[in-house]
Symmetry: C2
Subunit: 220 residues, 2 copies
DNA sequence: TTAAATTTTTAGGTAAATCTAAAAATTATT
DNA sequence: AATAATTTTTAGATTTACCTAAAAATTTAA
């Protein structure tokens, strides 16, 4: 059984490992909003407990045990987010912080019954996949909207940024999960993208386009 | 904002204060499963923060601020218990420990929406009243089953013991909330009570009868 | 391939919540 | 009222998760 803090470290290491194999001390510190020295302390502890493999100065990688623990927390986080949106009418930009707390509740029975109550959802309100109780989930292959070419079409199926500000902005633009879009033009001046969504033509910045994930379903 | 630990102290002091006005250090220590010396430390802290009035060697009483904080935690605890039983099909003997964790989640929006989702329940699975968002609730007046006389009738509306062992035992005997009972006899030998419930005559020990709460609705 | 910049670790300390052992105050009993 | 028993507090440590400052290792750049 891990502490609240250890769980947060494991989850953050897990997410960072999606990008780079060896996760650096500084990267963890930044995510945990703490100092590198504190991270080193915790890393040693996690290594001792068998959650990570650690070589001094070389960063960490999760062991199987560590990966399982991390995926379990991710599963809880995302299931609670579904609960908040589907059952309690939270908006997709309001759920993250509460889920950060709820994910640490320790009860296998609770999370399995919650999963059932929600109808075994496959993805959370931000389009992220929800691991099943064995930790398995489909690693969906998304394209970033920014990488599409003119006249490409697709469906919005995820976002790679979960800040409330970003999500509220998307909401206002009508760019929510499931929406069909088509690329009309890319502005020379600032690289902003003209897209067609729900019959309307709108312009979104490069920064926004970078964080919208599309499942392509048309002429490539 | 109080810590997890402070919240537990406040809740326990609140419950102990339902019996005696001045709550003793040792009583708190027993409930918190900790040592009296630790309790003294925490009491000082709570007094400094204005949650309790404290006179050395005289025990503590909650201030209004402390009472409000405690009632808020009780409200959360009981609402989560309702959620677990009504929505996730937990049994009434399975909910307490999980609710002990859930009660510390800090989000006013969450608890208000949960309350609404549950239909603003007035009592929890053990018959305990749920404070509204202003901390108000009816202090229901119960009689202990043990205090009833032969031929008295009533409805089971609560229990004053929440251990899983006790609740499972009641379940097996068919003594659940809402059940009508009538006192048939009190055994001279061991003080055990013969009661009529759902057409059947059963015998319950004094110990069990002490912890069943009845709202009388018949010949007194 | 040195020197500079960056990253990471060590050393030494703090604050919160706990503990044990012993001292002090209160309450109960003779 | 004196003594015994109980309750409560103090003193001094421990553990966890932090911190700052400085040293050490690694990486990058000249
Ligand atoms: Mn989230
Ligand atoms: Mn999410
Ligand atoms: Mn309970
Ligand atoms: Mn209850």
């Amino acid at each position: 059984m891990q502490s609240f803090t250890e769980e947060n470290y494991l989850k953050i290491i897990y997410h960072l490992a999606e990008k780079t194999n060896n996760v650096q001390t500084n990267a963890i510190a930044e995510q945990m909003q703490t100092k590198p020295a504190s991270v080193t302390d915790m890393i040693k502890k996690l290594a001792e407990k068998g959650f990570v493999d650690y070589i001094k100065y070389q960063g960490v990688t999760l062991t199987d045990k560590g990966k399982n623990a991390a995926v379990d927390i991710v599963r809880k986080h995302r299931l609670w987010e579904v609960f908040l949106v589907d059952k309690l009418n939270f908006k997709w930009d309001e759920v993250h912080d509460v889920a950060e707390e709820l994910e640490h509740i320790k009860s296998t029975a609770l999370i399995e019954r919650l999963d059932e109550f929600l109808g075994f959802p496959k993805s959370d309100p931000h389009g992220d996949p929800i691991p099943d109780k064995n930790g398995r989930f489909a690693k969906t292959q998304f394209t970033k909207l920014i990488d599409l070419k003119i006249s490409d079409q697709g469906t919005i199926t995820g976002v790679s940024q979960h800040s409330s500000a970003f999500l509220k902005h998307l909401e206002k633009l009508g760019l929510t999960l499931g929406k069909q879009i088509e690329i009309n033009d890319v502005t020379d001046f600032d690289g902003s993208v003209e897209i067609l969504v729900a019959g309307k033509q709108i312009n979104i910045s490069r920064e926004v386009a970078k964080h919208i994930l599309i499942s392509s379903n048309g002429k490539n």
